[in-house]
Every structure is written in structure tokens, then in C-alpha cells.
């Protein structure tokens, strides 16, 4: 259903600056999650941590094809979307730690980071919970004539929620500029989606009048190019679009999910990590195409790592909100 990375691709239609920006964002997400994992395992991060590692090409490929003022909705596995849309790392880490300086003043946490400045309507801890929100944002964009589009990121498990089909139907009827991006990483928590998905995903979208394409979610250029096409079409009045990305989460459903062999094999994990790592695939290609030599790429890694360490330090040092803040922000 998905096309493998096109290693024969002689040269890219994407200019080098953008290619390197995409690389930088992907590394940023990967290192962000490494830190989140570290903070969590050191019991410095409360709650749950659902890492995006392995799926970076999707958030980056899609968000780089968006305008800064376009909207996105995200999921429980939302750090990647948030970073890709341009959020500040320090305030993200602060939110993960429940600090006052966080994006949500510590009230939301990892699963609820939201940021009007980057058009992030919010991560969501209800699977499928943001499908109506993204579609509604597209309705606003159309009514207000802003030319914005809305991207709804969700996992393959969210295909189980009837809400998706209700809103896709309305999006088509009303020709709304919304792009439904399904991150199919094969699992719903600890259950393989062969147990949860019948039929065919793109046929479902088609049944509701939503044209769709599937793409290799490990190939950031493929994601970018396909997303751009769908986004441009939605923006031009072509109505809702569906982008199905095949991918894989490299770690557990959440950081605590260590013993995984009862639901997926070490071999499978190894295969994806060694053969299908979106960052390795991309850096190899960038080097092979001489868009950047190893040195340049390592420099980017180092810069990002430094940036992230600063962000973590900021989060660690910032204070918790005082208890009296608990009953503030209930009503606007």
C-alpha cells in the first residue's frame, strides 16, 4: 500500500535549506523524546509519556508544508507535532514537568500542550477527540476567508472512533479545508491493529467523499511532497483530504511499557529501527546527495542537543504553580 524510500531519487524537488530545516526538526524531536524519556525514568516527569520517536518524518513532513498560521490538532503522542509546528522547547519541557512556565501553566501536561501562537489547537488525551475540533477550525477558516487549513493528526487506533466518519462526512458536504493525517504505527496500545481495523482505510475515506493517499511515513520527503499536494488542494477549495502514513513507534506505548514481547517481537522492532529509521534514512540520503556532509549534520545534532539541554535546565529550574492556581482559568 505504501511506497518504499526512493533511494534512486536523483535530486530532490525540495530546496536544500528546507531539507536541512526538516532534518533539524526531526533531530529535535528525537532528542526531545530522549530527554523526556530520561526525565520520566528519573521520576522527574509526572503522569504518562507517550514518545513520538520513529514517527518524526510525519510531523515534520506535514508541518513544513503548512503555513505558520495553519491549524493542527494533536494526540496523546503529541510532542512531535508540537515541535514540528514550532513550539518553544523550554516551555514544552516546563509543561511536561508541570511547571508554571509551561505552555499550559502546568495544568495540561504532556497530553494537553496547546499553543495559539503556533496554531496548535492542542494535544488530546481522548483518542479521536480532536477530529471535530480540527474540522471546526477548518469551518472557521472557510467562513472567515483566512485561507488557513487545519491538519488533524491521529493514530490508527482512532479509526475506531465513529466521530471520524461523522466529521469527514460533514467536511465533504461543506468542502472544508481539513487534512486528516493518520499515523499508522500498527498498534493501538498493546493490540496489533489487525485485531482492530477491518476493510481498507483509504476506502473508508473515499466512502465519505474524502480523497486520500498513502505514503511511507519514514520518508520525510515523500511525506512532505504528498502532504503539500493535499494541503494545497484543500487550501484551493478542494475540500477535505486524507493522508495515510505507515510508520512505527520505536519505544513502548508509553515510557513504562518495557516488556513488549507479548504483543510485538524484538525482531520487528529491530527491523524498523535499523532499516526504517526516518532520521538515518534521511541523513544517509542528504550525505549521499552531498546536500550536507557528515560534519555539517553532526554540527546540527550538536546545536540541537545544546538547545535541548538549555530547555531542560530551564524547565528544571522553573517553579511549580502555587496551589491557589488550581481554581483559576476555569472560565474565560
Amino acid at each position: 500500500m505504501t511506497t518504499a524510500v526512493d533511494r534512486s531519487r536523483p535530486f530532490s524537488n525540495i530546496d536544500s535549506e528546507l531539507l536541512l530545516r526538516m532534518y533539524r526538526r526531526m533531530i529535535m524531536i528525537r532528542l526531545f523524546e530522549e530527554q523526556a524519556n530520561d526525565l520520566y525514568t528519573r521520576a522527574l516527569m509526572p503522569g504518562l509519556a507517550h514518545l513520538y520517536s520513529g514517527e518524526e518524518a510525519i510531523a515534520v513532513g506535514v508541518c513544513e508544508a503548512l503555513r505558520p498560521d495553519d491549524y493542527i490538532t494533536s494526540t496523546h503522542r503529541g510532542h512531535g507535532h508540537c515541535v514540528a509546528k514550532g513550539a518553544a522547547l523550554d516551555r514544552m519541557f516546563a509543561e511536561l514537568l508541570g511547571k508554571e512556565a509551561g505552555y499550559c501553566k502546568g495544568k495540561g501536561g504532556s497530553m494537553h500542550i496547546a499553543d495559539p501562537d503556533t496554531g496548535n489547537l492542542g494535544a488530546n488525551a481522548i483518542v479521536g477527540g480532536s477530529m471535530g475540533i480540527a474540522t471546526g477550525a477548518a469551518l472557521s477558516a472557510k467562513r472567515l476567508g483566512t485561507g488557513q487549513v487545519a491538519v488533524c493528526f491521529f493514530g490508527d487506533g482512532a479509526l475506531g472512533q465513529g466521530l471520524l466518519y461523522e466529521v469527514m462526512n460533514m467536511a465533504t458536504l461543506w468542502k472544508l479545508p481539513v487534512i486528516y493525517v493518520c499515523e499508522n504505527n500498527l498498534y493501538n496500545e498493546y493490540t496489533h491493529n489487525s485485531e482492530t481495523i477491518a476493510g481498507d482505510i483509504l476506502t473508508r475515506a473515499k466512502g465519505f467523499g474524502v480523497p486520500g493517499e498513502s505514503v511511507d511515513g519514514q520518508d520525510v520527503q515523500a511525506v512532505y511532497n504528498t502532504a503539500k499536494k493535499l494541503i494545497d488542494s484543500a487550501r484551493a477549495g478542494g475540500g477535505p483530504q486524507f493522508l495515510l502514513c505507515s510508520t512505527y513507534r520505536f519505544t513502548g506505548h508509553h515510557v513504562g511499557d518495557i516488556k513488549r514481547d507479548y504483543y510485538r517481537s524484538k525482531e520487528e522492532e529491530q527491523h524498523w529501527k535499523t532499516e526504517r529509521d526516518p532520521i538515518t534514512l534521511f541523513s544517509d540520503w542528504l550525505a549521499a546527495e552531498k546536500i550536507a556532509d557528515r560534519e555539517k549534520l553532526n554540527q546540527i545534532d550538536a546545536d540541537v542537543r545544546a538547545e535541548i539541554e538549555k530547555a531542560v535546565a530551564f524547565a528544571m529550574e522553573s517553579p511549580y504553580p502555587s496551589a491557589d492556581k488550581a481554581d483559576q482559568d476555569i472560565y474565560a
Binding site: 491549524y71 477527540g129 475540533i133 474540522t135 471546526g136 472567515l144 460533514m170 472560565y331 474565560a332
Partner: protein, 333 residues
């Protein structure tokens, strides 16, 4: 308040609601309505009929039968610059929207640390005795009153309907308005001019000295009818309508209770674990040392609502049943 206004006309609650929506839609282009059969049909009770002619099908938007879906779409539209009014044909269907209303609409402002706002209104019907049976007669507003982040409005007169609706549309938070389907034809004075009614301010519909009846929505009319009957027994009844259940005007309820020392609370929701329990608790706590008798709760019988007229009639409070309860409460029976 009406006095301070210009010429006063009589409108039905249905007319008052439609007039308010039209005025607000003229005033603010971001206000729009979406729901089933809201456009040409003007809803099943025809309350919105004609609006589509003035504002067009994009602002009076017919939807598929997808309550969860269009409630969710309203949440997103509200966050991004519009002011949607979601029409739920029968309040019995709000179960379908509870996840969107409770996990999304009610919490987004708080979860985002006050960043995003959700200025939307949901309107739903309530009320029995229309022989519509168990799935078309419920009054489920207690569910929403229980959820921080939502506001719940229950108009009982045309005047209140207009003033509360204006406040709701201009509020930056999700507001749910319950309208008793049996009251759309109720007539009452509605001044020509512009006015709003603040949330959290109860209205004393009738002043009295011996007994307080706190009633919501259509129960206000039943309470006023009973109050009239009680005059013959020399019982002076005060009837108070909280008008909004959240925010709740506890002060007015408690003061009246302390004055009369005898209280009945009336709400048409199911009798147990409902709005009456909260109202009774607030009063029992706030007027504890002044009450002569326990607060009497009168709600719908705690049963699924039956279809057959003699059965359904037995499940709802009536002037007669309130009269009897009041006499017992005042030791006159």
C-alpha cells in the same frame, strides 16, 4: 427590569428566542447556528423558522444526524473565531455529545492554561408530558451542571429567555441552554429594547413570607400555580427561579429560605441524584438554623418516562401535588 425599558410587548418564548438569535446574528457575523433541520424546517418546534431566509444556509446550517460530530465541529469553530450555536433537537440526545462537551468544550480553556477559549452555546429541549416516551422526554441538565467549565441556563419566561440568550451568546465559555418543549408557546412581556440578564442572578417570580419554592424552567409555572392555590390556605408563597444553575445564585435562595423557614425545590429532572439534591443541599446548609422542616424535593418520578398518558401524568409534578406537599410542609394537612 422591564419597567426601565421602552414599550413592552407580549411574545412567546419561541418568538423571544428567535428574535434574540436574529438580533445577535445581525450584530455579530461570527454567530451561526448548526443542527438538524434548523434551516428551512426551522427545527421541529419551528422556533427558528425564517432565520435561514435572512441569514442564509451557511449561518443556519442543516447538519446530518451526527450530534457528536457537529458538537465537536462547534468546539473547533468556537476556538478559532466563530460563535456557534449548536441545536440539539431533543435533550435526550446530549448523551451523544457528552464526550465533546465534557472532555473537550468544558476543559479546553483550563487545560490550555487559559489560552484557548470556547465561546459556544448548545441549546437542547427538556420536559415531559408530550407523550414522546422514554427517549424524547428527558431533562438531563443535571449532568452538565456537574461539570466545571460549563454554564447551564434554564429560562422560564419569554423575558428571561431573551436576556439570558443574549448573555449566553456573548459569553466566552461553553453555555448550555435547556428549553422546555412545552413552554415555547408561553406568552409574556418582552421589551423592545436591548437588554441582557447576567448569569448567576436568581429572580423572585413571586414574593411571599411563609414558604419558598425554588423552581426551574417549566416548574416555575407549576410553582406559581400552586402558590395561587395556597393563598386559599393563607400560605404566602415565594417562588424563586435561579435562571442559571451554574453559576448558581446561592445567596438569594438561602435568604429566602431563612425568611420563610420552609422550602420546596422543584426541577423536572429525574428525582434522584439530580438538580434538586444540589439546591436542597445548598439551602439545608445555608439556612440550617432557620429551617422549620426538611427541604422538600419535588422532581420527576425516578422512572424512565412512560408513553401512556395516565402513566406519564403520574410521573411529573403538578400544581396539585405541589399543593399537597406544601400543606404537609406547613403542617396544614
Amino acid at each position: 427590569m422591564p419597567e426601565t425599558q421602552t414599550a413592552v410587548r407580549e411574545l412567546t418564548i419561541g418568538e423571544a428566542i428567535k428574535e434574540t438569535l436574529a438580533e445577535e446574528m445581525r450584530r455579530d457575523p461570527t454567530v451561526f447556528i448548526l443542527g438538524e433541520d434548523v434551516a428551512e424546517a426551522g427545527t421541529v418546534y419551528k422556533v427558528l423558522s425564517g432565520l435561514v431566509d435572512e441569514f442564509g444556509p451557511e449561518r443556519v446550517l442543516d447538519t446530518p444526524i451526527s450530534e457528536a460530530g457537529f458538537a465537536g465541529i462547534a468546539v473547533g469553530a468556537a476556538m478559532t473565531g466563530m460563535r456557534p450555536i449548536v441545536d440539539i433537537m431533543f435533550g435526550d440526545f446530549i448523551g451523544l455529545t457528552m464526550d465533546q462537551m465534557v472532555n473537550q468544550a468544558a476543559k479546553i480553556h483550563y487545560m490550555s492554561g487559559g489560552k484557548w477559549k470556547v465561546p459556544m452555546v448548545m441549546r437542547a429541549t427538556m420536559g415531559a408530558t408530550r407523550r414522546s416516551a422514554a427517549q424524547h422526554s428527558q431533562s438531563l441538565h443535571a449532568w452538565l451542571c456537574h461539570i466545571p467549565g460549563l454554564k447551564v441556563v434554564m429560562p422560564s419566561t419569554p423575558y428571561d429567555a431573551k436576556g439570558l440568550w443574549k448573555t449566553a451568546i456573548r459569553d466566552d465559555n461553553p453555555v448550555v441552554i435547556f428549553e422546555d418543549k412545552m413552554m415555547y408557546r408561553l406568552k409574556g412581556p418582552v421589551p423592545e429594547g436591548e437588554y441582557t440578564i447576567p448569569f448567576g442572578v436568581a429572580d423572585i417570580k413571586r414574593a411571599g413570607e411563609d414558604l419558598t419554592i425554588v423552581a426551574t424552567s417549566s416548574m416555575v409555572q407549576v410553582a406559581l400555580g400552586a402558590a395561587k392555590l395556597l393563598e386559599e390556605y393563607d400560605i404566602s408563597t415565594e417562588v424563586i427561579d435561579p435562571r442559571t444553575l451554574w453559576p448558581l445564585d446561592e445567596k438569594t435562595l438561602i435568604e429566602s429560605a431563612r425568611k420563610t423557614s420552609r422550602v420546596i425545590v422543584m426541577d423536572e429532572g429525574y428525582g434522584r441524584y439530580g438538580v434538586n439534591a444540589e439546591l436542597a443541599s445548598v439551602i439545608a446548609e445555608g439556612a440550617f438554623y432557620d429551617l422549620e422542616a426538611p427541604v422538600k424535593r419535588i422532581g420527576a418520578m425516578h422512572v424512565p418516562i412512560p408513553f401512556s398518558p395516565p402513566l406519564e401524568d403520574a410521573t411529573v409534578p403538578t400544581e396539585q401535588s405541589v399543593l399537597e406537599a406544601a400543606l404537609a410542609l406547613c403542617g396544614k394537612s
